[in-house]
């Protein structure tokens, strides 16, 4: 258990999946914020300076998908690291900002947690 909890923003439009990963990450000592789409995520990023990691799905309804969200986060909040997941697309690393990580769905919460800790340094 890390001495200071790491804040991670989970962006996922499937409520059950979001709820499940959020709870598991909380159990592993993370502070977790949840957003159902990219627009919500942007709003939360604007208001919370503690977020260190954004963990986002690619395929989401709304004005931005996960890839656009990742690019926006890299542009506007450069210190924040990004983890991307998808069941829909074969995402290549070229689609992602540098230093991002990708996990195909379905993923293991432990793998996400480990990546988040590594990326937050």
């Amino acid at each position: 258990m890390p001495e200071q909890s790491l804040t991670i923003l989970v962006v996922e439009d499937e409520p059950l999946v979001r709820m499940d990963i959020a709870e598991q990450l909380q159990d592993m000592g993370f502070k977790v914020l949840e957003a159902a789409n990219a627009d919500e995520a942007i709003e939360m990023l604007g208001g919370d300076t503690e977020i260190r990691i954004v963990f986002t799905d690619v395929d989401m309804p709304g004005s931005m998908d996960g890839l656009k969200l990742a690019a926006a986060v890299r542009d506007r909040w450069p210190p924040i690291r990004i983890i991307v997941t998808s069941g829909h697309r074969n995402v290549t690393m070229n689609d992602l900002p540098a230093d991002s990580r990708f996990f195909a769905k379905p993923y293991k919460a432990a793998a996400i947690a480990q990546a988040a800790r590594e990326m937050a340094g």
């Binding site: 439009d13 499937e14 409520p15 059950l16 999946v17 709820m19 499940d20 990963i21 709870e23 598991q24 159902a36 395929d59 309804p61 069941g87 829909h88 697309r89 195909a104 769905k105 379905p106 993923y107 919460a109």
Partner: protein, 513 residues
Amino acid sequence: MARGGLRGYGTGLPFQLSIIPMIESNDPILQGGGECGSLLRAIDWSSNPLGKPAQWPAELRTIVGIALNSKQPMLIVWGPEQTTLYNDGYAALCGVRHPAALGGSFQELWYDIWEKVEPIITAAYNGISTSMDDIEFTMHRHGRPEQTHFAFSYTPVRNGQGEVLGMFCACVETTRSVQLTRQREAERDHMLQVFEKAVGAIAMVSGPTHVFTYANEDYLALVGHRDVVGKTVAEALPEVGRQGFIELLDQVFESGASHIGRGQPLQLQGRPNAEPELRYVDFFYHPTRGADGQVDGIFVQAIDVTDKLAAEQYQTLLNRELGHRMKNQLALVQAIVGQTLRSADSLEMAGKSLSDRVAVLATAHDILINGVGRTTVHDIVRQAAALHDGNREHRLRIEGPELVIASRPALSLALIIHELSTNAAKYGSLSTQDGFVNVRWRVEGNHQPPRFVFEWQEQGGPQVAEPTRKGSGSRLIRAGLSGTIENSVNVDYAPGGLRCEIVAELSSLQTES
């Protein structure tokens, strides 16, 4: 040619033909010649406009001699009276008009077709020859009627001064070759009939410039019913010519080797004067060879595979999409497993819950697949309730409008109703004899944007109190309707009965995502 009865023979004839067998001419040019020879020898020439054979001009004597000694049908029409002489070969063409016609007038012989014969005999008397390739006669050479064909030439016969004295006609029987030609034509027609209705475009082009000689229905449909026959490919289908197909035809024509192209993109004018559109065709060019073995044309077959290729692409897309959906479904199941295990009292309980939940999802999937995009809220409610417990169905009082629901919210709704039913059976109105549930939904059209409201209202059960610990069922309910926006779930543990209200923006509920 019609074979009418003889009209007026022996009555109105200008020249009398009399046969006196006892006084046979011994003129040397009338010797031989079979039946016609003997008939000619027997004629009393003194009463005939031609006069006695010995006084006949040299030209007539010569050609009569030739005719009588020829196996080929020959006819001589002589003098201003157009007196008719012929040999045995020609006699056979005259049918029953022979022998009366021998030595008589030409018009009397062919009175019934005189309209056609008169211009050519007149032409011959005016010094102009005529040839006819195919005249049909019905002959009885073998004891039965038989269609025969002859080629004729009417040739003027002149004297030393160039004056036309008469006409000489030699005939060639062409029955056999006509039959062969007709047989070939029939075979060709038959083949073309087969081609006409064959599936796939078929055309034939001839010669080094590729002139269309044939195009079947499918071919014409492919090229937008343009008039192609008689034109070169370049003239008839200019847009095809610009896409390198003429060069291919040239190559096949020159090399004599077939060419096969598959899935070839082709800008084709589907309607006359329309903009060309992109089609994909499989096509085959096969060289055809004439009697001399040289390539004389190209047999063209083409199949428009545009729709087939599109269907294949769609299938590929569908497979990929299915794979993605599968992954998302697995992620969902994974989340349900996680939620179930996290708050389970025992592994046994968790196993049972999990099995039921997966079964609910499977049934909802069946409904969605059968509904093919027309699955309604009612379908989902009824099935989820029935699956949970069939014999309580009458205790779920279901009421709501016909409303199409998209796949993702449908799966969530099925799961939520399952969880509500399970809870009601354990602790709520369905745990008693008389309890029931009002299951109602409606569309609030006045709300901006319009929204869907679903209500689960239990009545007649035991006194309700808010549970101290929220189970996994409660979590699944609170997760709401997947794929919708402005979605809220409100569970009210009212003492009279549990009430759950689910609200979602209507268009997101109904749109596949």
